[in-house]
Amino acid sequence: MKYLDEFSNPELAKRLIDQIHAVTTRPWAMMEVCGGQTHSIIRHGIDQLLPEGVEMIHGPGCPVCVTPLEIIDKALEIAKRPDVIFCSFGDMLRVPGSSQDLFQIKSEGGDVRVVYSPLDALKLARANPDKQVVFFGIGFETTAPANAMTVYQAQRLGMKNFSLLVSHVLVPPAIAAIMESPTCRVQAFLAAGHVCSVMGTQEYPPLADKYKVPIVVTGFEPLDILEGIRRTVVQLEQGRHELENAYPRAVRDEGNLPAKKMLLDVFEPTDRTWRGIGMIPQSGWKLSEKYRDFDAEERFSVTDMHTDESPLCRSGEVLQGLIKPHECAAFGKQCTPRNPLGATMVSSEGACAAYYAYRRLELVETT
């Protein structure tokens, strides 16, 4: 694919790796924010090729992983209803709630469907006027514009049988929360390229300044990630802490202006609980007053449901970079992708699942 394979070229990668080795004089710990980057790093074995002491901490950037159990339970409750067609992105289906998952709901007669775009859910709503169609709208700023567009269109079409179960989360408040943590070890961030392609880069210089951390907007292919790491190390070595855009082919400083306009119209900031981390103030989006009629939580009266997370699971510490996945006592024992205790073991972008899938070799050999 054009603009994809070019960014996996082994010779160019080798050159970047050499450059990273050449500029590194001491240990550094940096966090890649996005789960897609975590997946790519582990998938290509990039962290094995970095200088001794340059450590990648895997951040809370997998939307499936950080969606709180409580929202999952609300989704299950709604999906159970006989008048509902419940639509979701594929990988949310594998996430177990407190006692069931969406597959179980389906086997008991619930109408649960996977769609690839929220607009497909809207199509389903138009085709099934006697049903309530609900879309599970999760994700970071990346997936939000499509969800916003769907709600916007639903309103424009005057649709009464479509609603959105919203659990959107935002990157900048998460970066702030990580830096505010007293045990924080993160010295720099690779910012999530696709989030910035929507939102632009303007939210990040104040964070770089306040917390004295380099922030480098980074893409997802091996060369993108290596270039992001290289620039981050150069800043750290030089004692700088600036925003840099290492993903200019996708990210403009101002972001995607029509998308941002749509987001401002449809959503408004709200406090949001992150699975494994807890509540982060103003770290999410909910539907704005104007579109509140499309809020599935209100429509199906599940706003009062509350659920606690598993006490064994240390995913919160993993998500904050305090421990590596295999340092959790439950890793690979009570907690596996088949039987996950925490959300980081669920999605293939989750740090624990990525370790389990790609790193079990070295972990097995040391135990």
Binding site: M1, F103, S107, V114, V115, P337, R338, S348
Partner: protein, 375 residues
């Protein structure tokens, strides 16, 4: 139909993807639950996935219920049975429930014939006879059934097997959806052939007969809600001719498997576990067509976990590798054959790939079918 046949149709205790059409990725209707609850009071999609859940169903429900009526062992895709007079027969059954019924390059009809033939071919048997049982839902268009039946006939003719017995049932439209086919097959084994998943040994070469991921991507490309433009067609094919050509080299072929459900990844993991060897693959040697890479990149899937319907993996002694590879390449169905790795003494039971950048990664057994990622 015997219990043993329907048992195999639910998936296999070895977790192998024996039902090529049994569970295709990416349409929730046909999906295997990838993350099911262990103590499920009802059957969920994952129980038919050929993975861990199917295994549990067999170990904890079917086998105890069958008791000593079940043959010893693990009820493999194709059983080898002695029938006296020194004759060894291979016997296999498989059910095909693929959706959509027609896809680029084929239909459930070709899959039903080729899938069972391939199960027989993977123990080195020459397939002779097939049964075909159709389960039809009311309302199915006669013209669709006609197309599928034609495909069954054409595939059997092309493969040189006879359709010798059959059955037809109709279920009401709430009980089924379209055309389901069960086929069972019988083949004979040559005296000198001993091909089993447990025979891989350290030093053996790992070969593949051609491009990876074609069938899965072809089916996905026409699934409701996921349609994308591609010229990729399913690779569905009967592989017994290719196997015959490989056996004719005189090499002592240790293992053959067709990487159907769960793809190359699942199949190699199962062989590595069954034989207690490690496997080292070289990622750059894996024949993955650009369009498969692109489609998988778009959907967030791993090409190694995508189903194939006309490919085989062979584990052969290192000294025979070149000769077998040559024989494969001379056959039309093996023209793209490659050596992709080696069986090693390290990390036994696991498959590890050297990445293009020089790192390593574990190639894991998929939990179930892959789901498209959110982003």
């Amino acid at each position: 139909m015997t219990d043993a046949m329907s048992l195999n149709g639910t998936g296999n205790s070895t977790g192998q993807g024996a039902s090529p059409g049994g569970a295709e990725p990416l349409d929730f209707e046909g999906w295997v639950c990838p993350m099911p609850l262990r103590d499920s009071p009802t059957i969920v999609m994952g129980h038919g996935g050929g993975g861990a859940m199917s295994g549990e169903l067999i170990d904890h429900l079917f086998l105890p219920a069958f008791g000593d009526a079940a043959a010893a062992g693990d009820l493999p895709d194709a059983a080898v049975v002695n029938v006296g007079g020194g004759t060894r027969l291979a016997f296999s059954t498989d059910s095909f429930v693929v959706k959509p019924m027609f896809f680029p390059g084929g239909s459930v009809g070709e899959l039903a014939v080729n899938g069972t033939i391939n199960d027989l071919a993977m123990v080195g048997a020459m397939p002779l006879y097939l049964s075909t049982a159709f389960i039809l839902s009311e309302g199915t268009a006669m013209s669709d059934l006609g197309r599928v039946a034609n495909a069954v006939g054409a595939a059997a003719r092309a493969a040189g097997v006879k359709l010798v017995t059959g059955d037809t049932k109709v279920v009401d439209s709430s009980s089924g959806d379209g055309v389901y086919i069960n086929t069972a097959g019988i083949g004979v084994l040559r005296d000198d052939v001993d091909i089993r998943p447990t025979r891989a040994s350290v030093g053996d070469a790992v070969l593949i007969s051609g491009d990876i991921g074609l069938h899965g991507v072809a089916v996905m490309s026409c699934r409701e809600g996921l349609e994308f433009g591609t010229t990729i067609e399913s690779d569905t094919a009967a592989l017994h001719g290719l196997v015959e050509a490989m056996i004719a080299t005189g090499a002592d072929i240790h293992v053959l498997r067709d990487p159907t459900r769960g793809g190359v990844s699942a199949t190699l993991n199962e062989i590595a576990r069954a034989s207690a060897v490690g496997m080292d693959l070289v990622e750059q040697h894996l024949p993955i067509p650009q369009m498969v890479k692109d489609a998988c990149g778009l959907l967030g899937l791993d090409p190694l976990q995508v189903a194939n319907e006309g490919k085989l993996l062979a584990i052969v002694p290192a000294e025979s590798a070149d000769e077998v590879l040559e024989a494969m390449r001379r056959h039309p169905l093996g023209a793209g054959a490659q050596r992709i790795g080696t069986c090693v003494d390290e990390h036994r039971g696991m498959v590890v790939a050297r990445t293009g950048l020089g790192g390593t990664r574990v190639i894991d057994l998929p939990i179930g079918e892959q789901l498209p990622r959110i982003c």
